[in-house]
Amino acid sequence: MRAGLLRTSLLPGLTLANPVLSASGCYNHGVEGARFGDVKRLGALVTKTVTPRPRAGNPPPRLWETSAGMLNSIGLENPGVERFLAEEMPRALELGPPVILNVGGESLEEFEQVTERVQDCGAVALEVNLSCPNVQGGQLPFATSPAACEEVVGRVRRVSRLPFFVKLSPNTHLVADVARAAASAGADGLTLINTLHGRGIDWRRRRPCLAEGSGGLSGPAIKPVALHFVALVRAAVRLPILGVGGIATAEDVCEFLVAGASAVQVGTAHFLDPLCGVHIVEELEELLVAEGESIDNLSSLEQ
């Protein structure tokens, strides 16, 4: 295999060995996957959203399988930033791939606070999660209003020396406007998409399948939606995009790169195969060699 075939230049000063990353909340911090094999070959690890204070998350059941997908209502369960930095971040850093740290909050102050706190933790970049559908009653205040997005991204920009991606939601008709707002407020890149609002109904018991009522839909079922929003935002904004939603194979990766993503993240597919991301890297290399293609050919900001 040709060395460097998959090299992906993501941001000025940030080049990854390949464009296949783990998706936040779907691979914890990489340590569990590493028990099955070597995860060094992942392009980067994206950690589960961490918030200023610990969050217990939502009551069970939190999962419901659907046709070619699943609903979750985890509710950003996490140990809080202090415990995360002390106990989990060092273990994530030991695994090898660069770490992109995902941060979240419920207010401007919380986003600012957590961003400030993680500046020197060893992450190469941040991902700012504005789009978890399982908190704040699914309102998504920062991901559905361009003005609110601009304000929170501006606050994060002021305190962040690290480059950051802003993770957006598909649950609005204003995705392109919200993306423009994030760009004008100083985001270095965008991540698309977080999960779609969804609901399962147990009609016999007259109640929703998830304890919270609604949840977020992920998996192969949402791939066309994710591809659509990547292409839409690509046309609206000149920032690197991390594409995510239903990716499970090297073919999927190529589709996202052609749609306009610079790199991709693997989420739900990691539940089926703990080494899915690593397997995709290997497959992608073979696929590109076999087809005489290259990453630069598929994805280029100048396209």
Partner: protein, 260 residues
């Protein structure tokens, strides 16, 4: 831990939609009773997520392993329908098993309901054990012949078609009353939730230790999705949270840790 495809060696169909699925190794030879794996068929898997199964049997040196299942939905039906030579994807071993009793503690008595029998074969291969096994009817009482001769079985069926007429908790109480089961013996239990809850409540009342293996719905099985939470008394072992992850902290819990 490993994740790989295994060739199907044999599928033994049993009554009551149950089956034993034998897969070719390599498997870890160190699998503890109560540990589980995430399974899906290598092709034509009808659903998205893999399904958790307790290891039933593991042959010496891990050259083969079996899983004891009951076809109740699309995933368990697809696994029942595989043929010799097909492949099944197995990720495991996952979770923690039933602990060996402390020195001087009486031998645990195992209480199983339906496919909840699965984790106890490996246990009985290590120690002579009394197993109380309950099911709806005679058809549901299967796979006992797989157990080593040193196992003492007591069977209960809801309809009385085999063994004791009643549920497995009633059987347990009657055996304790008759002095056939040590009343101080810790109870290891696996079966449907309502059964485990009733057994745990009975043990709590009498001050007897009880460990249960939960069959919580799971997505990943290895600790990354945070979807398999079960309500617990907050403890440091659970990061001080009111939930534990069944796949990592369990599936075997001390019943006193759980909020039913």
């Amino acid at each position: 831990m490993q994740t790989r495809l295994h060739k199907v060696l044999r599928v033994e169909g049993l009554t009551g939609a149950s089956y034993v699925l034998w897969l070719e190794g390599p498997f870890s030879a160190e699998i503890a009773p109560g540990q589980f794996a995430m399974l899906r068929t290598g092709s034509d898997w009808p659903v998205l997520l893999p399904r958790p199964f307790s290891y039933f049997d593991v042959s010496a040196a891990g050259t083969a392993a079996s899983f004891f299942g009951k076809a109740i939905g699309p995933g368990t039906r697809a696994l029942a329908a595989v043929r010799v030579g097909d492949e099944v994807s197995v990720s495991g071993p996952l979770g923690g098993g039933f602990p060996a009793p402390a020195d001087g503690e009486p031998e645990p008595v195992c209480i199983a309901g339906g496919v909840g029998l699965a984790p106890f074969l490996l246990w009985t291969k290590q120690r002579a054990t009394t197993v109380l096994y309950g099911g709806a009817n005679r058809e549901a009482i299967v796979a006992m012949e797989s157990f080593p001769g040193q196992t003492t079985f007591h069977v209960a069926t809801d309809d009385g078609s085999l063994g004791f007429h009643g549920n497995v908790l009633e059987l347990y109480r009657s055996l304790v009353a008759a002095g056939e089961v040590d009343q101080r013996a810790p109870v290891y239990c696996c079966g449907p939730d309502p059964m485990m809850e009733a057994v745990a409540a009975d043990c709590a009342e009498r001050g007897v230790a009880c460990r249960v293996s939960l069959e919580t719905y799971m997505a990943c099985g290895y600790g990354v999705c945070n979807g398999c939470s079960v309500a617990v008394e907050p403890a440091e072992r659970f990061g001080g949270k009111p939930w534990a992850r069944c796949c990592i902290h369990g599936p075997v819990f001390d019943a006193a840790e759980l909020k039913w």
